[in-house]
């Protein structure tokens, strides 16, 4: 179940194009997570196309940026790389101010995501002697509660990463279903989409359960089913995920990601298997 997929673009490019369309003009958000180059490329692509008034706060630093009408900037594998956050910067927020402004959206991932979009960044197994201690919450617990909406992107799509119930709730998605966020008076609306190397998923508006939305080109329904441990709703008809358009790929490759970071798993080996095994670590916000 680990055959490699050969396509004319890499899934990070597909992910960047798909996620870009989710971001609306005038919004403010934070690209974050383990491969922050994906959401950062998505946000910059949005700024250069339909959302010129989008504000980016690069995660974990207070640099507020907009790349329109600025000199070209590199896309870096590390969120907090100086070159990454300096690009298009118009303000530098005091650290405490980072948590004093609304986020319309953010992006995050984790070791595990479950049926109700809860994320685990903390540990696999018993917390007192975990099989694997993850990197920790970072700011994920905060932003999952505070941002108006958020997008989950998972680097691997396996039964170990898409589970019925996370071993440990680092970030509350929809908890155990409808009403949980409201009861706890969490601020934001919860996760909107999940994207993996195999598929795009959303959440059923009635049950709040994970729901298959589209299959990435070249991926079969069986492959997704076999690799998903979560109780995912699979509709009768599942379309294909929209491929990046020629214009999007041109902007991504000529303007946003000239170094080809999106096509090379950051600085790691260039190709990965269907489960996206390339990165070991995941940053939380």
């Amino acid at each position: 179940m680990a055959e490699s997929i050969e396509i004319d673009y890499d899934w990070p490019e597909l992910a960047a194009a798909v996620l870009s369309k989710e971001l609306r003009d005038g919004e403010t958000g934070s690209p974050g997570g383990a491969r922050s180059e994906i959401p950062l490329a998505a946000a910059r692509l949005a700024q250069l196309t339909h959302a010129p008034n989008l504000s980016i706060i690069t995660s974990a630093t207070g640099f507020v940026s907009n790349i329109n009408d600025k000199r070209r900037a590199p896309l870096c594998a590390l969120t907090t790389d100086y070159r990454n956050i300096h690009a298009g910067a118009e303000a530098v927020l005091h650290f405490v101010s980072i948590f004093r402004t609304d986020r319309d959206w953010f992006f995050g991932g984790g070791l595990q995501v479950d049926t109700y979009g809860n994320l685990n960044m903390t540990a696999i197994g018993d917390i007192r002697a975990p099989t694997l201690h993850g990197p920790g919450a970072a700011g994920l617990a905060y932003t999952a509660g505070a941002a108006k909406r958020y997008y989950i992107y998972m680097q691997q799509h396996t039964r170990r990463s898409f589970v019925k119930r996370v071993d440990y709730v680092t970030a509350h998605g929809y908890g155990r279903g409808p009403g949980d966020r409201e009861t706890l008076r969490l601020r934001g609306g919860g996760p909107t989409l999940v994207i993996s190397p195999l598929a795009l998923m959303d959440f059923c508006p009635h049950t709040y359960r994970l729901r298959l939305k589209s299959l990435h080109p070249g991926v079969t329904l069986e492959e997704v089913r076999d690799n998903t441990g979560a109780d995912m709703i699979v509709p009768a008809r599942v379309p294909l995920t929209r491929r990046p358009s020629a214009d999007e790929l041109t902007l991504l490759r000529n303007e946003i990601d000239r170094e080809g970071i999106l096509r090379s798993s950051g600085r790691s080996p260039a190709k990965r298997d269907a489960k996206g095994n390339a990165h070991a670590a995941t940053a939380g916000h």
Binding site: A34, A60, T61, G62, F63, P74, A77, L78, T79, T80, D81, Y82, R83, I85, H86, V92, H94, F95, V96, F99, T122, I127, A129, P130, T131, L132, H133, G134, P135, G136, A137, A138, G139, L140, A141, Y142, G145, A146, Y168, V169, T170, A171, H172, G175, D180, R181, L184, R185, L186, R187, G266, R267, S268, H279, A280, A281, T282, A283, G284, H285
Partner: protein, 300 residues
């Protein structure tokens, strides 16, 4: 008329009062602004039982201290090497039970530091409501908001005894400047000083007071918060001094490689014990062309 006193100290003098079991906070984030010269001195002295706080992300700073056996407990929201992999010392210590992890989100650490900086016993956050964080960390107390009654979490103030920071530039009185981002270094210094602790900053360059005076708005940490300044050129290496030079990926990989090969004793011997000064460290482990490349990298 007296003269103002210089706060410049050797690394050994600056850290002389750190004791086994001290609570220390390390500034910077991930691969940036980590006071590695100061960290290596703590390893050199084979400190034991430290509690290490990082307000942002930890990487080689805390992991080296853990691997060298200096740490009993960590309070940090993220521990890892981002795209380079997980944190070897941390993974080992949490699995074999030799290291306590105070599970938290960065806004909870921030709350604990803000409370300390305000000289208050605790603060309230929404972060963690509905998660397993309060279940596994009893210091995160589930309470009700005193006005609305809604579910909140109270976090007690941290009282760090030492803050270890790294800035690109500082004058001899302790005014610190960061050309890139200063991350949470200011709140770390505020919390430490207001708790009666000591703030120690290494700097890549000691600059004249006139640099500070030219634009006081660009002083990120005021001298009134800083006790000692350590002159440590490239003192963040292999991490970056944000906006001054880039992190040295190969340098970080050497550490991870040593961990993979179970050769941490060798690493400590070569990178700490055999290089007792920052000059010796640089001469042995950082080539001039690397310095040039790391500085050039900032612009590109």
């Amino acid at each position: 008329m007296g003269n103002r006193a210089s706060k410049l100290r050797s690394v050994a003098d600056a850290l002389a009062d750190v004791r086994d079991g001290s609570m220390i906070i390390i500034g910077g984030s991930l691969f940036h602004n980590k006071p590695m010269t100061l960290v290596r001195e703590l390893v050199r002295r084979r400190m034991r039982g430290l509690t290490v706080i990082t307000p942002c992300q930890a990487s080689i700073d805390a992991d080296l201290l853990i691997s060298a056996g200096c740490v009993a407990e960590v309070r940090l929201p993220y521990m890892g090497f981002d795209y380079l992999g997980l944190s070897p010392g941390f993974r080992k210590g949490t699995s074999d039970g030799t290291l306590r992890a105070w599970e938290c989100d960065e806004t909870q650490v921030l709350c604990a530091l803000e409370s300390a900086a305000k000289d208050l016993p605790s603060g309230l956050v929404k972060t963690g409501v509905g998660t397993d964080l309060p279940r596994v960390n009893p210091d995160l107390k589930e309470v009700q908001d005193p006005i609305t009654g809604e579910a909140m979490i109270a976090v007690g103030a941290f009282k760090p005894e030492f803050a270890l920071l790294h800035a690109a530039a500082g004058d001899m009185y302790g005014n610190l400047r960061y050309p890139g981002y200063s991350f949470a270094d200011l709140i770390a210094a505020e919390a430490t000083r207001r708790s009666g602790g000591t703030v120690i900053a290494s700097v890549d360059e000691v600059v004249p007071l006139s640099h500070t005076e030219r634009d006081p708005h660009r002083t990120d940490v005021s001298q009134m918060l800083v006790d000692f300044v350590v002159d440590a050129p490239f003192g963040a290496h292999p991490c970056s001094s944000h906006g001054n030079y880039q992190f040295d990926e190969a340098g970080l990989q050497r550490y991870l490689q040593a961990a993979r090969e179970d050769a941490m004793d060798d690493y400590v011997a070569q990178f700490v014990d055999q290089v007792p000064t920052q000059d010796a460290y640089l001469d042995r482990h950082v080539k001039p062309s690397t310095i040039v490349a790391l500085r050039r990298g900032i612009h590109g």
